[in-house]
């Protein structure tokens, strides 16, 4: 009998890793559906400017002529004392602002402030309006500014559009334009760190790595296959997110697509090196969990994925800019929204490739198959 042709080792390894990923519904959800849901949620929350609601506690005091007269105007609208009384300041250009007033005593007002139900407390003393709020809270400041203007001008419920406001709703300046490249970068980091590191540690803890190296398997094939499959999955995840962002928010890539691909690959290599390094020894998934979080959590906060890192102290910014996630996110953003090409992303690509190689070599040096 003629024996069938032998299976190709590298091919079988890749097929196995691939099947392992796509057969796990959780992996599909967290890798593909979750980032899309997140972009959808955050995109809608920050792009469709709805009416801004500001809730105000009004202290019940005697002889509060101004406040009483103001409240009686709106009282008729909402007879129920449990609810807030609503005053809307219309502005067609920047969106309406609704003030919701609720009379309460000092203790209730303080509790409401602590709970974040209201962010400002007003009262009347000798015909003057007094404001109480946290001066470090920008939202409370804005409430104060707007209310103050109202009480000085009398009753301009409709603000005259005397100022010349030009709303920036151009492509590339919206929050969603800032967010999508960040989510792409975060996707690379999360999928690589969890997919590669956790997968490797789990295989070690199941003694599967030990069993595999007790065969003539080429160790390099194992590493090549697991990384290639991961990178391919990351690519699919990224393409789906970009297509979704294009359909839902009309986001387009303004710069060079080859440069985007280059920083994508460099990001993958950078994180793969890091993932390989942290998973090179431990066989305990709990420790793996901790190690991955130690790498991932600080970058989630510091790398400016959801909000610009320029709010951090100036002295920190040069360091934050060198974090791998920042390098990928900033590089992608510059291509997506600033129209950057290869030249602008050469440095981050070089740093990511160099870092990835260093960590990969260190990982290999300390690697334990069992």
């Amino acid at each position: 009998m003629q024996m069938s042709k032998g299976y190709n080792q590298l091919g079988q390894l890749m097929i196995s890793h691939f099947k392992e990923i796509i057969r796990e519904p959780g992996i599909i959800f967290w890798g593909i559906v979750f980032p899309i849901l997140m972009s959808l949620g955050l995109g809608i929350a920050f792009t469709q400017k709805q009416e801004v609601v500001r809730k105000v506690a009004v202290l019940e005091t005697e002889n509060a002529v101004i406040l009483d007269s103001m409240l009686t105007i709106y009282m008729s609208d909402t007879a129920n004392a449990e609810e807030f009384m609503v005053m809307t300041i219309e502005n067609k250009q920047i969106g309406n602002t609704s003030f919701e007033f609720k009379p309460m005593n000092w203790n209730d007002a303080l509790i409401a402030l602590k709970r974040g139900v209201v962010n400002i407390i007003i009262s009347e003393n000798d015909g003057k309006i007094e404001y109480r709020f946290d001066p470090l809270n920008p939202d409370a400041q804005l409430s104060y500014t707007k209310l103050n203007k109202y009480f000085i001008n009398g009753d301009p419920v409709v603000v005259e559009n005397t100022q010349n406001i030009q709303p920036l709703t151009l492509k590339g300046t919206r929050y969603i334009d800032f967010l999508i490249p960040g989510l792409l970068a975060m996707g690379i980091m999360m999928s690589t760190m969890w997919g590669l590191s956790y997968g490797m540690i789990e295989k070690r803890s199941k003694k599967l790595l030990r069993r595999m190296v007790a065969t003539p398997m080429k160790k390099s094939y194992f590493l090549i296959s697991i990384m290639t499959v991961r990178m391919t999955m990351n690519f699919i995840e990224a393409v789906l997110l970009i297509v979704f962002a294009w359909l839902a928010f009309d986001i387009t890539i303004q710069g060079s697509i080859p440069a985007l691909l280059a920083i994508f690959i460099a990001g993958n290599i950078g994180f793969a090196g890091l993932a390989f390094f942290i998973s090179c020894r431990t066989a305990k998934t709990e420790i793996g969990n901790g190690l991955i979080n130690v790498v991932v959590m600080p970058m989630m906060i510091l790398s400016g994925i959801f909000f610009s890192y320029h709010n951090f102290p100036d002295s920190l910014i040069p360091i934050l800019q060198k974090l791998p996630l920042t390098l990928v996110a900033d590089g992608m953003r510059s291509i997506f929204i600033e129209g950057a090409g290869f030249e602008q992303v050469t440095t981050p690509i070089a740093i990511l490739l160099f870092g990835g190689t260093i960590f990969f070599s260190l990982g290999l040096k300390f690697f334990r198959w069992y």
């Binding site: 009998m1 024996m3 042709k5 032998g6 299976y7 080792q9 390894l13 199941k206 007790a214 003539p216």
Partner: protein
């Protein structure tokens, strides 16, 4: 001259201050089925993993077909098949895919995969995910993987631990078939005496990293030939071992915890009445008694004072 397939020469291995393997030597001939019998922690796994090339001895030498792991790992990998204690294969790969993956490491194709599926009786589970297999089926899959490359040497580390008796017999049947074909040598570790008796023609009893006894089943039990064991319980409770240690010419092992005793008999006709009489004089009454042939477990208790099974 019969050439030796595996030679283990004066091997030592320690972990921190535990001497796992403490100066062991033995050899395996082609076609021989050898059992390493010992309780948990006896050093069986460490020894087998050194033969498998997964661990290396601190001292001593292991030679496989005249080759060593240090110099010929590639060649040795190709002639051995092994199954580790509790390997868990990828949950979401099915039986055929798992075998195909391992077949690729040996450059084997789908024909061999199908042959092995038949050999380990997993035809009906061909397309089942590993996660959905029973303990016995997983163990047969592991055995199948170890047999893919038609190994000349098969190393199985506790292949039936944790399996129910039916599943255990299924594994034994596969190994029995392999033995009849006589192309493979086997080193099997176990703490099941029946397994060693049933499958292997040479048995090495180890404890604390040392060989206590070795030989064929007949050789091991030769010294005890004709000896019988009378297992008994008493109606009275709280019996201390001292009752039986005053040496009236009886050899009794008394288990205080379980309140069970084993009496060794060379001549039932004379010794048994004497023993019963002795009990009477002590004011003790037999509740139950069972006489059987001496087994490896009895031998092990004789050698160490402990059972092979920690839980028996």
């Amino acid at each position: 001259m019969v050439s030796l397939l595996i030679e283990v020469r004066n091997v030592y291995k320690s972990f921190k201050d535990v001497k796992a393997v403490n100066g062991l030597s033995f050899s395996v001939r082609p076609g021989q089925f050898l059992a390493l019998l010992g309780p948990n922690g006896a050093g069986k796994t460490t020894l087998v993993e050194m033969i498998e090339g997964i661990q290396f001895p601190d001292k001593g030498e292991i030679v496989i077909e005249g080759k060593t792991w240090q110099k010929h790992s590639e060649e040795i990998h190709r002639i051995i098949g092994l199954s580790l204690q509790e390997t868990r294969f990828t949950d979401k790969l099915n039986v055929r895919e798992t075998l195909a993956l391992f077949a690729s490491f040996y450059g084997l194709g789908s024909d061999r995969v199908e042959e092995v599926i038949d050999l380990v009786n997993l035809e009906e589970k061909r397309k089942s995910y590993v996660v959905n297999l029973s303990g016995g089926q997983r163990q047969r899959l592991a055995l199948g993987i170890s047999l893919l490359n038609n190994p000349r040497i098969l190393l199985l580390d506790e292949p039936t631990t944790g399996l129910d008796p039916t599943a255990r017999r299924e594994v034994w049947a596969i190994l029995k078939k392999l033995k009849d074909e006589a192309n493979t040598s086997l080193i099997l570790t176990t703490h099941y005496m029946e397994e060693a008796e049933h499958l292997c023609d040479y048995i090495i009893i180890i404890d604390h990293g040392k060989i206590l006894r070795e030989g064929t089943l007949d050789q091991l039990l030769f010294a005890e030939k004709g000896k019988k064991i009378a297992g008994f319980t008493l109606k009275e409770e709280g019996i201390k071992p001292e009752v039986f240690s005053n040496n009236n010419g009886f050899s009794v092992q008394w288990d205080v915890e379980k309140q069970k005793g084993n009496l060794e008999l060379t001549n039932i006709e004379t010794e048994l009445p004497e023993f019963l009489h002795y009990l009477q004089t002590c004011g003790l009454t037999i509740e139950n008694m069972e006489i059987r042939k001496i087994s490896l477990d009895d031998l092990f208790i004789d050698l160490t004072g402990r059972h092979l099974h920690a839980n028996e």
